[in-house]
């Protein structure tokens, strides 16, 4: 059981890595912003599986924090990208 969970975690990690390769290479800021999203969600999934597989209930707390802060990071990136596009004037219909 624990082995299965660790294998599942490794697989999701691989998926995240592949997704990252694409995103970080992709042209445009939208792709880069998706990196934080993907890493946040994939990272949480890996964390939960890893925590369940090695018997660490605190991993769920780390997952909660990660969920909140990844959302915050993504928002900050979007805000910054929205601002820089128009050389100062803000996009106000976000």
């Amino acid at each position: 059981m624990n082995t299965f969970l660790v294998v599942a975690a490794s697989f999701i990690l691989l998926m995240v890595a592949l997704g990252l390769v694409r995103i970080l290479r992709g042209p445009g800021d939208a792709e880069r912003m998706m990196a934080a999203q993907l890493l946040g969600t994939g990272g949480i999934a890996v964390l939960l599986l890893q925590g369940a597989g090695s018997g660490m209930p605190a991993a769920v707390d780390v997952g909660l924090t990660l969920a909140l802060l990844a959302a915050f990071a993504s928002i900050a990136f979007v805000k910054s990208a929205a601002r820089s596009r128009r050389d100062g004037s803000q996009i106000t219909d976000l």
Binding site: V6, L13, R32, V46, L47, Q50, L69, A73, S80
Partner: protein, 313 residues
Amino acid sequence: MGLGFEIGLVVLVLGLATWTIVARETFAAVVGFATYGLLLALVWVRLSAPDVALTEAAIGGGLTGTLLLGAAARLRATEAAAAAERPGAQLRLVAAVLSATVTAGLAAAVLFLPDPAPTLAPAAAANAAATTLGNPVTNVLMAFRAMDTLLEKVVLLLALVGVWSLAPDRLWGGHPGPRHEADPQGAFAFLARLLPPPGIVIGIYILWVSADHPGGAFQSGTILAAMWMLVMMAGLADTPPVSRRLLRLALIAGPLVFLLVGLGGLWLGDAFLAYPVAYAKALILAIEFPMILTIAVTLGLLLAGPPERERER
């Protein structure tokens, strides 16, 4: 099987770090750095250090990334000029040799550590009865090395004053940062209304469990700061003027209570910051609650930056 997972994680982290360094655009590099911080939290969990993982997820991910973005935005005018100067081949060679030497030194230090490595962890764990708390990390931070924690909070405050001093004289005491605007009916405002309430609950929960389980005041304060920043970035609330009395009270509440409890220990007990065993847990909690308020407000203001708009009279 776990080894494959660890190797994959290491490769991913190193790859992301390399990409952060070679990225051409500042925005891309900052995104890489923030995601690198999020991944590092996974590494810490793998190393069975959930308290550090919490701090890494909180600070190393979202908050530092936002701070760097703010700095990059302020530097945008000079970015073209900075990119045009490329250091000569000789300088880069010297830099490469220095970096390699430091890396070799660190690797040697880690690899040639005596086995088992010298550590105070068993002593800290053995003395847990001094505070009746179950989490040895909290014991070390709030009891055995409480002096360091107190001084760290004062350093945070000094950093904030340093940031404020960057404002022009006439703007001293004004509102930090620009006035953020967002459609009050839009998606962003929606998130900023819905996310902070559970976020605040989770932040306080992380503090509450730190007595016996992984958690802590700093992580808790960081989560609260992020929620506050979210509300401000969505334009639902303006940044408070830094001369407001209530704000300044919140900024000193944490270190002040800490100092008072410490002096109380000197007067009623054995030494500065000594806790009588019967009241240790209550005293530590009494210190930590004002402290998360201070940390949240300090980090939020550090991210907002120096005052940029005058306070309306």
